[in-house]
Amino acid sequence: MKEISLHILDLMQNSIRAGAKNIQLRVEEDTRADTFTVIIQDDGCGMSPEMTKAVSSPFVTTRTTRKVGLGIPLFKAGCEACEGSFSLESPEGKGTRVQGTYRQSHIDRPPLGNIADTVLLLITGNPQLRIHYSHRVDGQEYELDTAELLRILDGAPLDAPEITAFIKDFLSNNESELYGGK
């Protein structure tokens, strides 16, 4: 994966497949502490303790179409290669929390990349999901919560063209402002 936002898109597919209704995504960049952290928390089905332990291996997967599962192993390897850390908690029946941290200034840390597209596609592709995204860069932060969008929309569909266009603008504008604007 060339971008951290692609890992995020991939890991959130796991949440969707686990039957999650609520997914929280946090991206936190802290220049002073030199950390770049991604946290994904969902209320899906979780995993058994054995599966939780085993799933970081590329040769473990729940899928039946092939024998390897690379989503979590690739993300974990990426974090660890950048002097970071990875943790996974997944109590069965309660949901899953994945956290990966990179050393922000590490030369091998991938860029976050097009996180706006990642979040937009997750929302428009899964309008029934509640997605709460927040992104913090040092002191600055913004968030997008689909529950809030639905409240404002009051019955209008999230994936209507006008609404999708708004969400796209909202995300890309706020992302670029976080980094000091274009």
Partner: protein, 122 residues
């Protein structure tokens, strides 16, 4: 910072139109493979291009959704188009620049772009 207040205005402007739209049950479904293999092969810009193109043309009865790995990782990004009453069409190794043609020729006009399909690739 852009705020959600603007959304309220958009809703008020479009609510009438939004409510008039037909239900999407009988519409075309575009399904993009978005597992690790698809994403690594470039499925995200492909899906974004479909969403863009479909919005641009205001194709209200077309939905774009995502699926997992169907076991043909080497042919990703894979896109399946489901038209009611017709056989499913599967495109493979799709690039964002091919999307406009798939939308106009296949989804709008009903003629699958045979040269991009899995059948002519294999």
């Amino acid at each position: 910072m852009k705020t959600l207040q603007e959304l309220e205005a958009i809703r008020q402007k479009t609510i009438h139109e939004l409510n008039l739209r037909k239900n999407r049950e009988d519409g075309v479904r575009v399904v993009v493979g978005l597992a690790t293999c698809g994403i690594a092969a470039g499925a995200r810009p492909v899906m974004a291009a479909f969403v863009d193109e479909i919005n641009k043309r205001h194709l209200d009865n077309v939905t774009v959704s995502q699926t997992g790995c169907i076991g043909l990782c080497r042919l990703e990004p894979i896109v399946e188009v489901y038209t009611p009453g017709q056989e499913k069409v599967t495109y493979c190794k799709v690039k964002p620049e091919q999307v406009a043609r798939i939308v106009s020729e296949h989804i709008v006009n009903g003629n699958p772009v045979v040269e991009y399909t899995i059948g002519s690739y294999e």
